[in-house]
């Protein structure tokens, strides 16, 4: 009998202020379900984790996040369209402040 548990392993990395407020550099997730996008992921990460000015999903809704998947930056408002896959690496970053 083959059991398909439809779960995915995702590796999420945090940077700069986000890393500091999340209290960690990275997290390995094993999530159930196969049709998950970045916004779904942010909701999972936001559970039980309040940051200085809200949660990760709040920061996203305020337009304060830059996100990359497998080291390709995702254009703003395209986050809902990309379906994550098993083994994906997701970088969650604040908006740039170089220079």
């Amino acid at each position: 009998m083959i059991v398909n548990d439809s779960s995915m392993r995702l590796y999420v990395r945090f940077y700069a202020r986000i890393k500091e407020e999340m209290g960690r550099e990275a997290v390995n997730l094993n999530v159930k379900g196969s049709a998950m996008n970045i916004i779904d992921l942010l909701r999972i990460l936001s559970k039980d984790k309040k940051m200085r000015k809200g949660t990760l999903i709040d920061y996203y809704l305020q337009g304060k996040l830059l996100i990359a998947v497998n080291e390709e930056i995702i254009r703003r408002n395209e986050e809902g369209k990309l379906i994550l896959k098993d083994g994906d690496i997701i970088d969650i970053m604040p908006l740039p402040s170089g220079g």
Partner: protein
């Protein structure tokens, strides 16, 4: 054309000599130096600490340099940005643009600086005598 993220910037004179060699058509060399300002809303600045997503930052800097070089038809571009700790008064970054005429050089330089600040995954933490803050993008 090159970009570099580094703990120690090259000598600016060397960069200028480097771009001069790229063509005999150069009539203008524009230079921007970013410097750590001594004051902030929190008080006297001691240093800035830069964190970088290096792979993405290199990719984005190269994309910006290539795009600006083509659109403004400038001859050469060098961008260097520090990572790690940079003390008050020290140089943070150089953007050097070589062009035939000054008009396109100034325009290219401004666009590179603006896009670097908005698009390149580099973040700065401002450390002052009264505490620190992450500067918001």
């Amino acid at each position: 054309m090159r970009v570099k993220i580094t703990e120690k910037l090259s000598e600016l004179g060397d960069i200028i000599q480097e771009v001069k060699k790229s063509s005999e058509d150069i009539g203008a060399i524009l230079v921007f130096i970013g410097v750590v300002r001594g004051s902030s809303p929190l008080g006297k600045v001691l240093r800035l600490e830069y964190e970088v997503h290096e792979k993405l930052a290199y990719k984005k800097l190269e994309e910006i340099a290539k795009n600006v070089k083509e659109r403004y038809s400038v001859i050469d571009i060098v961008i260097e940005h520090r990572k790690g700790s940079v003390n008050r008064g020290e140089n943070i970054m150089y953007v050097v643009v070589a062009s035939k005429h000054r008009k396109e050089g100034f325009e290219a330089l401004m666009e590179i600086i603006n896009r670097l600040k908005e698009e390149v995954p580099i973040w700065k933490k401002e450390v002052t005598e009264h505490g620190y803050r992450w500067v918001e993008g």
